[in-house]
């Protein structure tokens, strides 16, 4: 099969079949990554523009490496918010398009920005995070990590703990996991849950042990201080008292439960130091999968023309 699309915006508009296809492709890419020579020619002669309006270390690195492994030319134009005021996103897109770019990787503080850009450019647009909306790349690598560890999604019980209001990857994961047949339980301070969250097909708890009960997978979110005003949460100290993943809480989960975090992690806040250092916490697997998933995303889009043919 193939996935006929020009752009990747999020998991919300992918079907379960689409997601499985991306994950299978990512497994192939992982095979390539494990070779001595990691270079493959799939994006030879194509150019990839990294257009980030927000700072990011890991997303940028993984997209850049993925593009280079696939032999694309990569241009990094990490913009500041200052540039955004001078030139509209559409104008920037036109500029990049006219110069003949094939892929634009966009990270932007406004929800829906990737869709807006995609409407006015020929190039394929990959959403690397838009406001508080979605981050499909990060989510797909989480899903790949879960698949590798558990072998399936149907019937899995996944607990998600933390901040859902400001976490785009958490939302992408909810779309993905529910579509793939996992049973999703969420817990977090009520002020950091989404409005009408049950309608996303998840079970909402205020107590983390209820969400974690018999879980196969525990996903945590980043607790971002910079985006969180004190109206939603008093302090991280109080947060960790109620929602930190530690060995005591893990007793409620299945013995082989895995613990994941999108990084960067704050030791002792989202997850206790002891759990981070234990084999149950597989954040290194997540990082290892991040490049493979992005390679798969590039490959799939290039199969359908890859922006400018």
């Amino acid at each position: 099969m193939s996935l006929h699309r020009k752009d990747f915006f999020g998991l919300r508009d992918l079907t379960a079949e689409d997601i499985r296809y991306i994950l299978t492709t990512a497994e192939t890419m992982k095979y390539i990554l494990n070779q001595k020579n990691k270079k493959s020619p799939h994006l030879q002669g194509k150019s990839v523009i990294i257009l980030f309006y927000e700072q990011s270390a890991r997303a940028k690195l993984s997209y850049e490496l993925a593009a280079q492994h696939l032999s694309a030319n990569v241009v990094d134009m990490t913009n500041s918010a200052h540039d955004m005021e001078r030139e509209s996103l559409q104008d920037m897109g036109q500029l990049i398009d006219q110069m003949g770019a094939d892929f634009i990787i966009l990270r932007h503080p406004m929800a829906g920005a990737a869709r807006l850009l995609a409407k006015c450019v020929e190039a394929s647009v990959i959403n690397a995070g838009d406001g508080y909306n979605e981050n499909p790349g990060q989510s797909l690598l989480d899903l790949l990590t879960i698949k590798e560890s558990k072998g399936k999604f149907e019937g899995l019980k996944v607990a998600m703990i933390g901040d859902f209001l400001h976490s785009r990857v958490a939302k992408s994961n909810i779309w993905g996991l529910t579509k793939l047949g996992a049973e999703v339980h969420v817990a977090g301070p009520p002020t950091l849950l989404l409005p009408e969250m049950e309608r996303f097909g998840v079970t909402v708890h205020y107590e983390s042990k209820k969400a974690v009960q018999d879980a196969d997978v525990i996903l945590t979110t980043r607790m971002r201080l910079e985006t969180q005003d004190k109206m939603n949460l008093p302090t991280l100290d109080e947060y960790k008292r109620f929602f930190r993943i530690d060995h005591k809480l893990l007793q409620y989960a299945k013995p082989d439960a895995i613990v994941m975090h999108p990084g960067p992690i704050q030791r002792g806040i989202e997850i206790s130091g002891g759990v981070i250092d234990s084999p149950q916490c597989i954040i290194n697997d997540q990082i290892a999968n991040s490049v493979a998933v992005r390679m798969a995303m590039f490959y799939i889009l290039s199969q359908m023309g890859g922006g400018l043919v």
């Binding site: 996103l89 829906g112 909306n133 409005p195 009408e196 996303f200």
Partner: protein, 424 residues
């Protein structure tokens, strides 16, 4: 040339509605005779061939943007756009530049509107100097200069103490007090209705309580001060319930909604459609249902256009950065007809009341709002059987966009007659 004979009219407003087609004689801008088989006396004759003739529409909530924002809309394009939409009288919100907070600006707008010799423009005065919600504007002088109401100009009055004083002060002129209801501490950074759709799109939400808190507050203040309160653009079930209860208790409160609040829902924001970015935001199906109930049982008095134009480039942005606003004059009546009359929610007579008679009563435009001998000859002729397609690029307004682009609507305005002069 203010003399006109309208032949074969199907009347739909007035005290006693004739069952048969009749003719309307207009002399010197006034209706002088309504009868069948009137003989021409040398005046212009317009045969409407059995089409419905309604009293001209009166818009209680719109923005003409002049003075100060002529790049967005001006008095000339406002008049042309309103006339195309069947509005023979429009008001204007005072948040112009300079703000309508003194008699000079009122006189400027009235004289400029008169010079147009087109649609009537009745300004609202600002409650406060500079629309800042702090110091009382010269309401009395503006009243003498011709304002028909006072308004916050969609700038929210945070201070209950100030609004209470406005209501007390205004009592000596018996002017209606128009309020945009929104508690800014609750709406915060929201850009659409709070709820599942906003969560799906990753957009910050404005909860319904933001509107409802101010509706409750303003009703309480109207009750204690005895002022005439008019709640602009009501959009939630809770707010409508409070107005219904207040009316039952005899409080002098009226309210209005706009066509987009019952023809669209928050789900129309899907795909980040900035053309539906309005304030208050589009709500849910349940709220739309409540609005329809409120329209049917008379809780909602008036349908206004809510015309608040904005430059096209301010809409071609990320949803969060895009401007609020809608170009509404040229679709308001047809949307209302299609979604309210064609669907059987209310009769055409009742729609005419909501868009003409009731606004005239609230604004005390005693010669308008009803087709009757002696009244101003502000009339519209509408076509109700043939659907037509909404083409925003043909709008007379400078804001040539609409969330209703491409919609097939019934209730096209064929003719707009203001003071006996045919505008379209």
């Amino acid at each position: 040339m203010k003399d006109l004979l309208l032949k074969n009219c199907r009347l739909c407003s007035g005290e006693a509605i004739p069952k048969t087609l009749c003719d309307i004689r207009i002399q010197n801008g006034k209706i002088t005779e309504i009868k069948t088989g009137l003989q021409p006396k040398g005046e212009t004759i317009l045969d409407v061939a059995g089409k419905y003739v309604l009293a001209g529409l009166i818009d209680m909530h719109c923005n003409i943007c002049e003075p100060g924002f002529e790049n967005i809309e001006d008095i000339e394009t406002s008049a042309a756009s309103a006339a195309k939409g069947g509005f023979t009288s429009i008001t204007c919100e005072p948040n112009t530049k300079p703000v309508i907070d003194n008699k000079t600006v009122v006189e400027y707008i009235i004289s400029k509107a008169k010079a147009q010799d087109s649609v009537n423009i009745f300004p609202y005065g600002s409650m406060s100097m500079g629309c800042e919600g702090r110091d009382l504007a010269e309401i009395g002088e503006m009243y003498q200069a011709g304002i028909v109401g006072i308004s916050d100009g969609d700038e929210i009055i945070d201070s209950a103490a100030f609004l209470r004083n406005v209501m007390r002060y205004t009592k000596m002129f018996d002017l209606p007090v128009m309020t945009h209801c929104e508690d800014r501490t609750l709406s915060g950074k929201g850009v659409m209705n709070e709820g599942y759709t906003a969560a799906c799109l990753g957009l910050a939400g404005m909860p319904r309580e933001a509107e409802e808190l101010h509706v409750a507050r303003n009703i309480l203040l109207a009750e204690t001060t005895g002022a005439r309160l008019h709640i602009a653009t009501i959009s939630t079930r809770g707010a409508i319930r409070m107005v219904r209860d207040a009316k039952k208790r005899g409080i002098a409160v009226t309210c209005e909604t706009c066509p987009h609040y019952f023809a669209l829902t928050e789900e129309d924001v899907e795909d980040y459609n900035t053309y539906v970015k309005v304030d208050p935001p589009l709500r849910t199906h349940d709220d739309v249902q409540a609005i329809l109930e409120g329209i049917a049982d008379g809780t909602i008095d008036v349908i206004a256009s809510g015309h608040s134009p904005t430059p096209q480039n301010e809409k071609n942005k990320e949803f969060g950065n895009a401007a609020y606003g809608i170009s509404a004059w040229e679709t308001a009546f047809a949307i209302s007809y299609t979604y309210l009359v064609d669907t059987g929610v209310i009769s055409l007579e009742r729609l005419s009341e909501m868009m003409s008679k009731k606004p005239a009563e609230i604004l005390k435009l005693t010669q308008k709002g009803v087709i009757a001998v002696g009244n101003d000859a502000d009339l519209i002729v509408i076509e109700t059987t043939q659907p037509y397609k909404v083409e925003p690029k043909e709008f007379a307004s400078k804001a040539k966009f609409s969330p209703f682009a491409g919609f097939q609507l019934k209730g096209r305005v064929c003719h707009t007659i203001v003071g006996g002069a045919i505008q379209i």
